[in-house]
Symmetry: C2
């Protein structure tokens, strides 16, 4: 990606954040970028393509941060929880992208496909991680998809509460996700620990 | 609520389902109801009020079904899981309302407030249920909010996958929620059962 594309994407984040995606005309993005109309259309066909590119960049950041964190056999349970902190930090480091992500469901078919593609990739990654824990004897056998779905759903929900509703702080958001993970690891039944 | 109001709400469900809420003019609802314009405006100021009323009725159904199901001390753990089946059955019995609910986030400030009010009521109800389990010695002490949030988030997510994306069957939806609940009850760590 070249510098001009990057600049267009960066000004778009700000404008979408301030005015809302639906209320932003392409003209505003072009004006804020300082480039001419033809430069803009050389890189993007429309506003939707910008949103799609922003979301994809955000998802790449999440997967990059996940992949640079290695789960060690020695501290498996702790690392299994810690990796969620890494995911939530990606949200915290990108508050405007987080809000855009949390608001973008239902924008258009293209955007919904882009969101679904992230969900599917995340669910697959997470199921593999749980499966690894089972294969190595850390977890007992259980269907992996419900665990992956509840994790993804919880992350999305708290990110929405933090970035859109602004009802919880970033610390609350992290604590909610970590506490949920302790519960699912060790169970909540009185004699299960 | 009188028969005319009920009829207007019922035809609205069908039209919203077929055309989408955003693409439905009030005129279509009035025509389909068979009533005159003045009758419509006696009960509803606009389309948004209809959506709000439909969502509130759906939430009442969910809480009605929850409240008629009593958790017995003898089968506490089983009942604790079973009540989720009762919730998911409310979705299954109202597929068009489920879709409307799953699509309605972000429609307007009024609708978002209505959705938030349901979330808050559900979270409170659920936290109380988990707290009861702790007080009675069935569960060990843990923060109740993360458990309530992960439950609500999971229910919303699978309902969306079933009613909007149509990626999973109603049986899948129930099984995902029940399996998640078994995991959170007993934990997934190998020696936790």
């Amino acid at each position: 990606m070249n510098e001009k594309q990057k600049r267009i994407l960066e000004v778009s984040i700000e404008i979408f954040y301030n005015k809302g995606y639906a209320n932003t005309p392409v003209r505003d993005i072009i004006d804020a970028s300082g480039f001419g109309t033809s430069t803009f259309y050389r890189y993007f066909q429309n506003k939707e393509e910008i949103l799609k590119q922003l979301l994809e960049n955000f998802f790449l950041k999440i997967f990059h941060n996940i992949n640079t964190f290695t789960i060690e056999r020695e501290d498996f349970y702790q690392d299994f929880i810690e990796i969620k902190q890494v995911i939530m930090q990606t949200f915290i480091q990108n508050p405007k992208l987080s809000e855009l992500y949390s608001r973008s469901a239902g924008t258009s078919r293209l955007i919904d496909e882009c969101l679904k593609s992230f969900d599917d990739k995340f669910l697959l990654f997470y199921q593999n991680q749980v499966q690894y824990g089972m294969d190595e004897g850390f977890f007992r056998a259980a269907p992996t998809l419900p665990i992956a779905i509840s994790t993804l759903a919880t992350i999305k929900y708290v990110a929405y509460k933090w970035s859109v509703v602004k009802e919880i702080s970033k610390e609350d958001m992290i604590n909610l996700v970590l506490s949920f993970h302790k519960s699912i690891l060790y169970g909540i039944v009185a004699n299960s620990e």
